[in-house]
Symmetry: C2
Subunit: 168 residues, 2 copies
């Protein structure tokens, strides 16, 4: 709604999107501040913002930005770049990178699989419970492979659609 007539971005519209998208991420289990920072980056025109810009737009302290960004970088959802000739840092989200990270829940899956394997082991592979765990494990192992294939298909699909290869 409120399709912007031309140049200037309406800061209120941006903020509205940031908060509502962040809220969804929070509901899905993400911490609030990383979610807000991420949404702000995603909806910035250049796809990147400085620490100060983030702090101002979200009305939070530099400390909060710092923590959020560290988390996002660990999850490979944003990358940090130093502005040359300045001690200012920019945080950037590139569309491919971030949703590839989303599906790279690899680490999570691997840990689930590990816990399940231990469970099968210690409950006995032939007990009913053990068999249930084993089947669950098999499902996740199957998923591992499928996720990679889905991402591959997406890359193809996307290239056909947009010819895009690097929307900033």
């Amino acid at each position: 709604m409120t399709e912007p007539s031309a140049e200037g971005r309406d800061p209120e519209a941006v903020s509205k999107f940031v908060e509502s998208f962040a809220a969804q991420l929070v509901e899905a289990g993400m911490q609030r501040m990383p979610a807000r920072v991420f949404a702000a980056l995603l909806s910035s025109d250049p796809g990147s913002l400085t620490s100060a810009e983030l702090g101002e737009q979200l009305q939070v302290s530099p400390a909060a930005v710092s923590g959020a960004v560290r988390y996002l970088a660990q999850q490979h959802m944003v990358s940090r770049e130093r502005e040359p000739g300045s001690r200012r840092e920019r945080y950037r989200v590139s569309s491919n990178q971030w949703y590839e990270a989303l599906t790279n829940r690899d680490a999570v899956l691997k840990r689930w699989e590990h816990a399940l394997r231990e469970g099968v082991d210690s409950l006995g592979a032939r007990s009913p419970a053990g068999r249930r765990l084993a089947e669950t494990l098999a499902f996740f192992e199957f998923l591992d492979g499928e996720i990679a294939k889905v991402m591959e298909r997406w890359r193809v699909h996307r290239e056909q659609q947009y010819g895009a290869d690097g929307v900033a």
Copy 2:
């Protein structure tokens, strides 16, 4: 480890699995008590436990069990059944059901898509930010379809492997 020699389940081994699997679920964003209850059900031989059994095994109050179970039922991760001729309730996890529920993050995806659509709309589909959001949206829409297909392939795969159709 500690492969059980025969019948009796080692309550300590069970508890160790429950807590470690629950911890992984928590890390992935699930609340602690639902995670523990769920792990307990998953690793029970019959695949179901009563409220009292859960309370005892996990050392928590009936109130806590009640809350956790309500949440799990809402997410379709367990089903509730009334024991005939008793006011006792049993909570059950059936392997297929639960991980199908896991991938039925449909609701979550839909809400993300909704928020993104509003974002594209209000930032303008032709602005750089709008285009980024649109691409993200396209990705999720693509995912919607792929998830269904993956689950379908899993059902086939599983049937070939186990011939299984309803491991309790």
